[in-house]
Symmetry: C2
């Protein structure tokens, strides 16, 4: 991962960071790096996520999925950090003969449509929940099991479970003898892509999960006490500095379709880790070049409240554009779609800079398994650094508990004062 | 469409609008409504978009698609406003035997994957570009044509064109005798969903486009000079008022998978229309319940800079959740997935309100063709109202031109000073 922060500097952008501001910040980065290193060394919750590239055992994953090695499709049942990592990894690694679908919502029409689109007799199921009690995941899994049974298929032969050390899902897996992997104890869901949580479907698809991990190991080797030597920290530090200077929004805009789920994964990483104590950048998912025709007007001429992160691989296979044969389009002849996409990337970057809007360029050599591991690790390290600089508890998400209790209360699970608040809603209806 | 603004009031939320503030705003709404009505009556550019429900001729669309009536799939080639409306309509109306795919990006790997996934001999192509010169769309169309020719299939028998009154695409359509529809002259792309731009693929799929239009006609009949009588204006006015009070972000969060593209369509509508003169709310696309496990921490505990719009149908077919058979999950037995989803909706709404975070509830009776027409029209009217209140040129998008010229210059189309700026990029590389 290479990070070019030139267009985030005050010489170009407003808000922007001066070079002296960066120097001052670098002292804080050094201190934060020491804290992060100490956390990694002692295996402290959260920081230990940065050890996953070394501690995740790909052969344990390969063994667990061996019983479903000949599946024609894989269905992940999870939500949030139990689904986005898997979707990110599988999609980024490219189309495979084994399709990967995800059930990460409880919309009944959608669940039916997904199940109808799968040949269940030929589908491996990967159920992921750390607690084993996540309402949406367990409800979906119950529906999936039922559908297998209705079709007379033994779901226990086709199901792999990834969960914590105890809980209903662990009990079920033990009782039925299902292949079971551990959600890493040291990492919250959003930091668990480089573990069985994110890698199981890719393994079933035949992707090179070992290379994903080795790309991440290489990125881990780049961590250092200075943002000037470490692309991940440069990204995290500049994002933090721009947030402090008014860029409360971070637009993640990859110029490659296969990283569309990555932008969602990044959005969770950033939002749940940093959105605390009344602060935290709001991540916005975008996609280049498409969203130039949807969002760029706002990014260039709207409020000066955004950092735009432009992400691409430096190399990609291209597809030639045939000669259009008409004059106004002659310039397209002899180009390629990828060449056009790269021109759009550079044009958008320059367009934002010309309007004084801060942006950062993040590049991978290639979008392959190693490049993906590098990217995921780099963004996790960037996020943890930004959390240290912001002085928040990066690895918790206390604000989601209220709603979970309310929802359970509404469904009749005991008495919850939160559920009573729902009935007291302040109404002002216009119809 | 029903709009409940109770949780956006100052009695609940900070930022929030007082009831007296709403009364004062209502005078401005009356004035804006007169302006909008006058624009509609004279067919003025942009305002005329609100006439599309009446002026769009569904039988012309039915005739144009008649030659491809037996296609097994339809491929839209367009970008931005020439693609999002079609994706929104087709997806919202539910799965059809005729699949709809969209090429709205020039990523070579993605274009190849989409084409590989289609039986071209059985695929209708809908090409959409007002100018007939949009680089991404024309490049993709050239690639698609070429692929048809390589497979020995006559693309001219399977292609429908929607474009302006002149330009290369119009010339081509005339020359080859292709069925051709007009991009409405009075509406920018992002306001053209209720025209051939948005309705052609749905017509090929056999959806009830007439009912979409009639739902929109009914919504048009609800426009009035007071936000207290008009759900669309209530939404637009409250969004505007909250933006002025610090909610610079508008999270659009439908609790139904089939409205996921709608959230993208809304994001374009809001961003390109209002993102001007250093102002404009930043739209953020979310999806309930999924993003509760990804974004809610930030929405509830991050900066007080957000309005969250919670959107759902009041009725939907449900799917029962089988009895889990274990105690900690017993509360799920006897519920349905839809019931769970609705509990999550209400819990999230209450959870935001309990934290004093402004949110608005938007409900449709049902997500059917009429309900969709109602929603699309309502959000367009809300956006135009917000534009009037903000005193911006709602129907232009001047800030995207710079980048378009730069990209063309980079590809060798004459001399463009913008392209030279790309070479002058300020670099500060960390690697």
């Amino acid at each position: 991962m290479q990070v070019d922060i030139g267009n985030a500097l005050a010489a170009v952008a407003d808000p922007g960071v001066t070079e002296s501001g960066l120097e001052a910040l670098d002292g804080q980065v050094g201190t934060a790096h020491e804290r992060i290193s100490a956390g990694r060394e002692s295996g402290e919750f959260g920081y230990a996520a940065l050890n996953l590239p070394e501690t995740t055992d790909p052969s344990a994953i390969r063994s667990a999925v061996e019983p479903v090695a000949d599946a024609g499709a894989v269905l992940t049942v999870g939500i949030g950090g139990s689904a986005l990592g898997a979707a990110t990894v599988s999609t980024a690694l490219g189309p495979a003969a084994v399709e990967h679908r995800v059930l990460d919502n409880v919309d009944p029409a959608h669940v039916s449509a997904v199940l109808d689109g799968l040949e269940l007799a030929d589908t491996a199921v990967h159920v992921v929940s750390r607690s084993g009690t996540t309402a949406e995941t367990l409800a979906n899994f119950l529906v999936v099991r039922d559908e297998f049974e209705e079709q007379g298929i033994d779901w226990t032969e086709q199901t792999v479970v990834t969960t914590g050390s105890d809980g209903p899902l662990r009990d079920l897996a033990d009782e039925r003898g299902l292949p079971t992997l551990r959600v890493p104890a040291g990492a919250p869901g959003r930091f668990s892509a480089l573990s069985p949580v994110g890698l199981v479907p890719a393994a079933i698809q035949g992707h090179d999960i070992e290379a994903v991990l080795s790309g991440a190991v290489a990125a881990a080797g780049q961590l250092s006490g200075s943002l000037f030597d470490c692309p991940a920290y440069a990204y995290g530090a500049v994002s933090y500095a721009l947030d402090r200077r008014g860029a409360g929004i971070n637009v993640m805009m990859p110029y490659v379709e296969r990283l569309e789920p990555f932008a969602e994964w990044f959005a969770q990483l950033w939002a749940e880790s940093l959105g605390k104590n009344g602060g935290g950048q709001t991540p916005v998912r975008a996609l280049g070049a498409t969203d130039q025709h949807s969002q760029l007007q706002l990014y260039r001429a709207g409020p000066r409240d955004k950092l735009v992160t432009l992400l691409r691989p430096r190399e990609r296979p291209d597809q030639p554009v045939p000669d259009p044969g008409v004059e106004p389009l002659a310039y397209l002849g002899g180009t390629g779609l990828g060449e056009l996409l790269d021109a759009e990337f550079e044009a958008t970057e320059a367009s934002l800079a010309a309007a004084g809007r801060p942006n950062v360029r993040v590049e991978l050599d290639r979008l392959d398994a190693r490049g993906l591991g590098d990217l995921l690790f780099g963004m996790e390290a960037a996020c943890i650094l930004a959390g240290e600089l912001s002085d928040v508890e990066t690895f918790t998400q206390p604000a989601v508990e209220w709603g979970k209790r309310a929802a359970r209360g509404l469904l009749g699970d005991g008495t919850a004062p939160e559920a009573d608040a729902v009935a007291d809603k302040h109404r002002f209806l216009v119809e």
